[in-house]
């Protein structure tokens, strides 16, 4: 029967799409668990080093490291963390939007903007958008390593050291829970004191062993690395969660679509049969 041939084909094609999306959902779900573990396990270090840096920012050191000095802002750098692959809902776009708002606020004050893009989505986006991409790193994989990130981050740090950049931000997604990911823009350099610990509100300085300069160089570079690493790992968990959700929605939608099409098909078939019968009856009556 020729009725609804197109509909039949369409149902079959949506059916196979649904299979793919549900497979992707399951893959994302299992990857998310691993990514979450990775995020959780590196969190204590990130939290502790952040605590130390906060203390440091509150101290009154005799040697003021470059990273602790505020200077007049002429050019800022953004480290934008994104995914390598698509099909993860609005995850990347939300982060890019947050970045763009911040960038616009800067460019309105005629401050220039450099971008360091991590992940191929950010690279493509900022190349097309016309951002000044100074460093890029893609294909970090599911288990990114600090060593892979250092190269791209070093470009930003060197630019900061040389005074080409006066401020560095990092843009990434924060993993709130499986359903929610929140884009955040955080200032990396110079370090900002946020901790309102009463006990530190007096004039004090560390005892440094060995010398302050050497020690702080090591510590601060480590801090930035840890910050970027944490952002990348967290973004990875976000990616998997967002993809899982997007694929779940896609699977559900495909199911609804198939139901609707099946209904249309059945109706068309029924109509064709009814028509045929009435034609036969009409024909018989005419004889």
């Amino acid at each position: 029967m020729a009725v609804g041939k197109e509909i039949k084909t369409q149902i079959a094609s949506i059916g196979s799409t649904r299979k793919i999306t549900s497979a992707m959902e399951m893959v994302a779900a299992s990857k998310m668990r691993k990514a979450q573990d990775r995020m959780q396990s590196s969190r204590p270090y990130a939290r502790s080093i952040r605590g130390v840096i906060q203390h440091l920012a509150k101290s009154n050191p005799e040697y003021k490291h470059l990273y602790l000095q505020e200077r007049e802002v002429k050019r800022v750098g953004f480290i934008v963390v994104s995914t390598d692959r698509g099909l993860c809902g609005g995850l990347n776009i939300n982060a890019f939007k947050a970045a763009l708002t911040e960038m616009k606020a800067n460019s309105d004050k005629s401050i220039e903007v450099d971008v360091c893009a991590l992940g191929s989505k950010a690279v493509t986006f900022f190349r097309n958008f016309g951002g000044n991409v100074v460093a890029a790193k893609t294909h970090l994989g599911d288990a990114p390593e600090v060593a892979e990130l250092i190269g791209a981050v070093k470009v930003m740090l060197d630019a900061y050291d040389e005074g080409k950049l006066d401020r560095v931000y990092i843009v990434s997604n924060e993993f709130v829970n499986t359903m929610t990911q929140k884009p955040v823009v955080e200032q990396v350099l110079p370090l900002k004191a946020e901790d309102d610990d009463e006990r530190l509100n007096h004039h004090w300085d560390y005892i440094y062993e060995p010398e302050a300069k050497e020690l702080l160089n090591g510590l601060l570079v480590r801090y930035v690395e840890s910050l970027v690493y944490q952002a990348v790992v967290e973004n990875n968990a976000c990616e998997q969660a967002a993809r899982m959700l997007a694929m779940k929605n896609a699977t559900d939608n495909a199911g609804n679509l198939i139901d609707e099409l099946q209904m249309v098909y059945n109706k068309a078939r029924q109509a064709a049969i009814t028509q045929e019968i009435s034609e036969i009856v009409g024909g018989a009556a005419a004889v």
């Binding site: 006990r199 560390y206 062993e209 020690l215 510590l219």
Partner: protein
């Protein structure tokens, strides 16, 4: 009761220890340091070596760190280790093996060799052995 201070030991991979302690000793870059609660703020680099804790109540615990940073505040002590191990996870045989291997690599002048890397490996293996000896002495194991 003895005074205590909160201490965190974290490595890049995991949190190793978090709790109240009465005393801690570490291997700083300029020598060993022993810290009691209420110490003045101090910041130093760590060399590979043992970290010895006396927890609240007097129980001893020994960890091994392969380097990192050490921060002291009067109310809080943080140890940011590159890698940290619970001392009972250390293997004496593996450490000796690594030490021998590193010594050989350094003695072998003919081969193309990353001298500083071998030296670092040797320092680490020696520090692991030192940690193990310390455990045996202190805990009588």
């Amino acid at each position: 009761m003895a005074m205590t201070v909160h201490c965190d030991i974290v490595s890049a991979e995991e949190e190793i220890f978090s709790g109240l302690i009465e005393f801690v000793s570490v291997t700083g870059s300029l020598g060993d340091l022993g810290i009691y609660p209420g110490h003045a703020p101090l910041l130093t680099e760590l060399k590979p070596g043992p970290v010895e804790l006396r927890k609240q109540g007097g129980e001893q615990d020994i960890f091994y760190v392969s380097g990192g940073f050490f921060e002291v505040q009067p109310h809080k002590i943080s140890i940011l280790a590159d890698t940290a191990l619970r001392a009972k996870d250390l293997s004496e045989a593996a450490a000796q093996e690594a030490q021998k291997h590193a010594e050989q690599a350094m003695a072998d002048k003919s081969s193309e060799l990353d001298y500083s890397r071998a030296a670092a490996q040797l320092a680490e293996a020696t520090a692991q052995l030192r940690t193990l000896q310390q455990i045996r002495k202190k805990l009588g194991r």
